[in-house]
Amino acid sequence: MTTEMEKIIEVDMRGQVCPSTLLVALDNINRNRKELSSGMVKLLIKTDNRDATTTIPGTAENMGYKTEVVPRDGFYELLISQQS
């Protein structure tokens, strides 16, 4: 559930393919690590690369984050947040 304190950082990677999508996503996770871990920030990644819907959540989960994949019209939204 989103509270008033939470902030969503949006990264639009539509047009990019693997593995650069993964590297960009990981780069964003690394840079916002503290905020993500404390639950203050969620990362919303928009991608139209189907492979990224498995590689990004898989790696993020190994790093201890919770991920959700929501199909949108022509792209996917990947929401990465603190593990509850």
Partner: protein, 741 residues
């Protein structure tokens, strides 16, 4: 021809473009040192460029290796050239990500270790034995409780098969094996009661699956339920014992839950109510136990409701209850109800116990009837005996008088006759105090004087004295003089009889007392006169002291058992109380309390002894159904100078009274009998006469001296009363008093 500088530059440029060797041996000696230097630099540059490519390839290779670990495709050179590859810093990104993965992995490991320790603690502390096996019955681990239950302390069981430790083929056939059934069904399998030696065990085998869903482990839980089984068996025994007891007792037993629904009913209850156990269980108790109040014939289901709804905390008993059974017949029952308590003292329902007492009750009634008849026989015999004695006196003296010619002798014999008659009057008076409606004819009397006269009379001729202590300010009491006299005489005679032989003295005290509220249960608060009569006799034994006031109870050979009973009856009708205290060998004391009167005591009417003088004038109407009484009353009045007319009932009296008035010869007074069988008595006749003549002087005469009309004659319209039997002097005194107004 010597080389110019331009040619040299062209040569250097070609060398830079890849022909480094051109500079060696192709330049003028003048440029030779410079060409050597440049050639060396070019070779060094080439070596550096080759090293850089190796490094880039190495980096790209490692990046791809790490990407493969992560699970994604390798970087394509056309996708990311060397320049961007270095700029994006994938190694930095991936290594930072790996750091996070490692950190997360460490945390996960810590959590897993904790979870494993927790599971181990649970494993060892669980009340049952736990065994973990692979899917081929090989034991992998077990907890302490399992080893306590099935192995010796040092026995090593890991690696053994479960049946080597627990089962033997003879007692534990394979079809009951939980492991077997679990493997076959793929679901947990249980065995509720499995015997191991003298123990009872409950077993559950549960599968553990791997990632592919294959059963790889089996966890078996063994719980020792021996104690539980023993308790259950003991409970079954107890239930059987209770059930047999319940079925064999003669009392009906019905238990209900908190809603009033029957949960249990015994055989006796089915016989009394007419409902079978099968039909009754599950029904509301009110429909099976239909009870009514004795004598009222109305349903008292409300009594049951009260017990159920109010959850009576105590045992309730209902006597005198009627049960209407299913066939509609009524049975006398004794019913008790008690709450059924649970272990926490909360109420789980109610138990009704009832007994059919119809037969006992009928027998009691028969017995009471027989007792009454016996008592009546005793009583009638006593009366007949006493009356015959008195009549002997009357008849004997009259027959003697007839024979005598001497007037003095005749007079003496008639006096004796009169004495016998008065004793007969006393006897009937005593009997009348037992009559149901008996009310004393009360007026304020000076009790002190009465006591003195009574005591003197009762002790006449005996060697017993009496110490009288009568308070000087003793209050008058509202009482029937004759009755109180009788009480005092009875008590004094009793005291006298208690002290036979050498004489002695009775102590009598009389004083005013004040009774406070609730001080004496039978007495209303107020002022009383208390009379205590104490003898120094043998005392009354403890075992009979409670019965001495019962009618017909006597310890004397010649007693009727009416003396103290009469005293009690009289005193209670005076709103007083009589009590006794007695000590063996020291004597007995009777205490009487009589309500004090606010009115001054009048003079007690003197019992006339005269013969009645012939001074009366006027016409008197005498009404009585008994000819004997009519005639003797007329004779007495005529002897006293009155003119008399007679009527035999109320209607005749009214007719004669009206006729006399019409003729102008009215009656000066009317003497009327109160009770006329099958005719109009004095009570109705006086009302009719007063309507005709409000000034009519009517005197009530009755043999029932305790008739309520006699006690309260004025409110019925009578001027005066006279109790039968009466002497001529009594009658003429009353008649003269009424005529004179």
């Amino acid at each position: 021809m010597p080389m110019d500088l331009t040619e040299f530059y062209q040569l250097v440029n070609r060398a830079v473009d890849g022909e480094a060797d051109l500079l060696a041996g192709h330049v003028d000696p003048e440029y030779e040192p410079l060409a050597t230097l440049i050639g060396g630099l070019l070779r060094e540059n080439l070596a550096i460029r080759q090293n850089h490519q190796v490094a880039v390839d190495y980096i790209r290779d490692k990046i791809n290796q790490m990407l493969r670990v992560i699970g994604t495709s390798p970087l394509k050179p056309e996708e990311l050239d060397e320049k961007h590859l270095i700029g994006l810093d994938p190694l930095g990104i991936i290594s930072q990500s790996f750091a996070q993965i490692l950190e997360h992995s460490n945390q996960t490991n810590t959590d897993l270790r904790l979870a494993r320790d927790e599971i181990r603690a649970i494993f060892d502390s669980v009340g049952g034995g736990l065994l973990v096996m692979d899917n081929d019955r090989n034991i992998l681990t077990s907890n302490n409780r399992f080893r306590e239950m099935f192995t010796s302390p040092d026995e090593e069981i890991v690696g053994k098969r479960c049946y080597e430790i627990i089962c033997d083929n003879e007692n534990h056939p394979r079809e009951f094996c939980c492991f077997q059934r679990m493997m076959e069904s793929g679901r947990p399998a249980a065995m509720p009661d499995w015997r191991f030696g003298d123990k009872h065990l409950s077993i559950v085998a549960s599968p553990v699956r791997d990632g592919r869903g294959e059963i790889v482990r089996c966890v078996v839980l063994y719980i020792d339920i021996t104690e539980l089984i023993e308790i259950r068996l003991a409970l079954d025994d107890e239930r059987e014992r209770l059930s047999t007891t319940l079925e064999s007792i003669a009392d009906g037993v019905i238990s209900i839950d908190n809603r009033g629904v029957i949960t249990l009913m015994n055989k006796a209850a089915t016989e009394i109510t007419g409902w079978s156990q099968e039909e009754a269980v599950g029904r509301p108790v009110c429909s099976v136990l239909t009870i009514e109040d004795q004598g009222r014939s109305r349903n008292r289901g409300d009594l049951l409701d009260e017990i159920i709804v109010n959850k009576q905390s105590k045992v309730e008993r209902l006597d005198n209850t009627i049960l209407v059974n299913r066939q509609g017949s009524r049975r006398d029952i004794y019913l008790s109800a008690a709450p059924i308590r649970q272990y926490d003292r909360s109420q789980a329902g109610t138990i009704f116990v009832f007994r059919d007492i119809t037969r006992e009750k009928r027998m009691d009634q028969e017995l009471a009837k027989a007792n009454r008849l016996e008592s009546l026989g005793l009583f009638a015999g006593g009366i007949a005996h006493d009356f015959n004695n008195l009549l002997t006196g009357v008849l004997g003296n009259i027959s003697l008088a007839r024979l005598k010619s001497d007037p003095d002798e005749k007079n003496r014999l008639l006096n004796e006759t009169e004495k016998s008659t008065f004793r007969a009057k006393d006897l009937t008076q005593q009997l009348l105090t037992f009559a149901k409606s008996g009310m004393p004819v009360k007026r304020p009397i000076s009790i002190g004087t009465l006591i003195k006269e009574s005591v003197e009379f009762s002790l006449r001729g005996s060697n017993i004295g009496c110490n009288l202590q009568i308070a000087a300010d003793l209050l008058p009491v509202e009482a029937d003089q004759g009755q109180i006299n009788q009480v005092i005489q009875n008590l004094i005679i009793n005291s006298r009889q208690a002290m036979p032989g050498e004489g002695g003295a009775i102590a009598l005290t009389a004083a005013n007392i004040e009774i406070a509220n609730r001080q004496e249960p039978l007495l209303a608060p107020g002022r009383y006169v208390k009379i205590s009569i104490a003898d120094r006799g043998a005392g009354i034994p403890n075992n009979i002291i409670g019965r001495i006031f019962d009618p017909f109870f006597t310890t004397k050979e010649s007693g009727t058992g009416l003396g103290l009973a009469t005293c009690y009856s009289i005193i209670r009708k005076h709103h007083g109380n009589i009590t006794v205290e007695s000590e063996a060998g020291k004597g007995t004391t009777f205490h009487l309390c009589l309500p004090a009167s606010d009115e001054m005591a009048g003079e007690a009417p003197q019992t006339g002894t005269g013969n009645g003088s012939g001074t009366g004038t006027g016409r008197i109407l005498v009404m009585d159904d008994e000819e004997l009484v009519r005639n003797v009353t007329a004779s007495m009045l005529e002897h006293s100078g009155y003119e008399v007319d007679l009527a035999c009932d109320g209607a005749g009296a009214i007719e004669k009274y009206t006729e006399a008035r019409r003729r102008g010869e009215p009656f000066a007074a009317v003497v009327m009998d109160l009770t006329i069988p099958n005719g109009m008595g004095g009570k109705e006749a006086v009302a009719a006469l007063l309507k005709i003549d409000p000034a009519a002087r009517v005197i009530a005469a009755s043999g029932y001296s305790n008739d309520p009309v006699m006690a309260d004659y004025r409110s019925y319209g009578f001027r005066q009363v006279i109790a039968k039997p009466f002497r001529i002097s009594d009658l003429t005194e009353v008649v003269a008093g009424v005529i004179e107004g």
